[in-house]
Symmetry: C2
Subunit: 393 residues, 2 copies
Amino acid sequence: MLKLQKILNKKERLVIGILSGTSVDAVDIVLVRINGKGQNSRIEVLNYKEYKIPIILKNYILKASDKNTGFVDDICRLNILIGKFYASCINKFIKKSGFSNNDIDLIGSHGQTIHHLPKSEKYLNIKYKSTLQIGDPSVIANQTGIITVGDFRTADIAVDGGGAPLVPYLDYISFRSSKTDRILLNIGGISNLTYLPKNCDFNEIIAFDTGPGNMMIDYISKKYFYKEFDKDCKISLKGELNTKLLNEILRKDNFVFTEPPKSTGRELYTEDFVEKVIRKYKNEKLENILHTFTEYTAYAISENIKRFIKPKNHFEILVSGGGANNKQIMNGLRSYLPDAEIKNVDMKGITISNKEAVLFALLANETLNGNKTNLKSVTNAKRNVILGKICLA
Amino acid sequence: MLKLQKILNKKERLVIGILSGTSVDAVDIVLVRINGKGQNSRIEVLNYKEYKIPIILKNYILKASDKNTGFVDDICRLNILIGKFYASCINKFIKKSGFSNNDIDLIGSHGQTIHHLPKSEKYLNIKYKSTLQIGDPSVIANQTGIITVGDFRTADIAVDGGGAPLVPYLDYISFRSSKTDRILLNIGGISNLTYLPKNCDFNEIIAFDTGPGNMMIDYISKKYFYKEFDKDCKISLKGELNTKLLNEILRKDNFVFTEPPKSTGRELYTEDFVEKVIRKYKNEKLENILHTFTEYTAYAISENIKRFIKPKNHFEILVSGGGANNKQIMNGLRSYLPDAEIKNVDMKGITISNKEAVLFALLANETLNGNKTNLKSVTNAKRNVILGKICLA
């Protein structure tokens, strides 16, 4: 226990944050220095790198994530395999950053989500929600020699929260302002936002998923244009808006106007959803379809802000996630929300790309500080709890 | 962190141990007081109880454990469900034991094994073994308000061990003797033993699986006599030994004479194994078949002891697990091993029934003490490591 106790006594720690997203493209790793704790945590980003996940491993993980093809033996294997893969990336990353493993105090690992069922279910009179992240943190700890905190979501699930979003804690620590209302908007596969009123305290935060991000746009790019994604909006900007189609998407989307708190997973804006919507638009130019779906993301985000945040005159929106690079979405937001100052997150070293990894470094550090980092008003949990599992090394 | 630090400073702790075995019949819970640490740990058993697992939940777990029927969505659900079910049993148990949750310092939870692949495999140049226990310890911690250490096996897997057996640590702490060589024999679904030479130290321990325990006996009772198991050997003692059949089992069993260290799971002594062996014995009386399989368990254990332990004159065998209640097995052991003094484990409050639960209480306590409790010579791990994941509450 000596090593843990030594780290517990440190006021400043070197912490690594690591995760791979539901797109399973890459492992994001960040190294930060965190000084202080709780609301007084100060984060300094030292290095960040993305490690590509080999396509064969990506496909294996996607197979294991699907309820029709994800079998227990593969999950058993992948839990360890991903742990070992993460650890090998971390070991390379530390070296590349000019440190040795002994210099690092702590790792915070989100793991790889392979299933997420945030709606309440009941079995044998037991009410529960559930989520499943793999990439065993004991494996990471023992393959790096660094104390690792992992698997943050199940503690929130334990007290009947949905296990997500967890990012509001980082948003609050790093982006609350005494000068302006701020919205932190993340456009990933789906989109979510954190609203921080000027001078707010922790319990005034509002955060929720707004609906689609890049999921459907990426699907259409892949399926009809054979591109991983629509880089620089090259395709969608050749097209035009089809207002009828936009309304059709809206009609089929029963999440976007739901009152917060609300959360959705990848199971809503699927291929199936897209195909059902465009069935009647067989003769429409494919560029117009992509353009309209891209516009829909901007529209859905904007409507959520107007209806549920109702911000005062001037406010800021700091955008992160892949969608921050999508010109059409960014321009759409600017025209739908003329009072907002909209820009990419890029503050205190936190960027579009490294933000989620920074989150898990911060959360791990707070686990050691004994601080509660879920936000019950956001996840719908019964209470705030200490997240994560500590694996010694 | 205050609460953890307070507990870290205690020399004596009240600890709960909990698990459910691969037979998925019941949750075993024990409450112990542990004084001291490492080799000087002294364990006092205060209470023990078994909580039946509802048959519908048992079947759900068995379905999720099978590589043909175990799907990711069910595993996602069951990880949380089992955590909640364990927690509700623990809360009842603490009350029944005359304590309140605030009195208890720590829980050690093994969880429910749903898959175990201890043989080395390779994927993308990553060598790994794997095992999967569910029943999320974060759920247990937050539903009981008690710090919980869970999921002990993956840390050994992380350093290329097989994740099992872990019981030698308890055997060493509680049963090493300055007067006699001792074998701790556990006859569960499969059988395993720990050999403790007189006055041995931690690194002289030998431990391995010997082969079948009750698995095949239980299968035959269920399939051909419609009994959960052969209570008091009522059926097998009506039969007689068929030596030809005994030799046939031995010929088919390629594990039993393998040199240790060795470990097997439920995947060897399956229904399939039994059916293949008895195919040629269609006309044999079913009682004789059951008798012979029961005898085989005693024979296989004895042969492992003779060949691989080669004990000196007098030695003791302390038996635990369901097989300790099987008269034919116990008598068989006595006749094959005339120099041994064979009796049930029942020492310092540790009994046939509560021994495994005591183990996980001890291991959790040692995790907080920062002690390494796997035994690399037994699990084949590269090194000894600190087991378990700590979930704060």
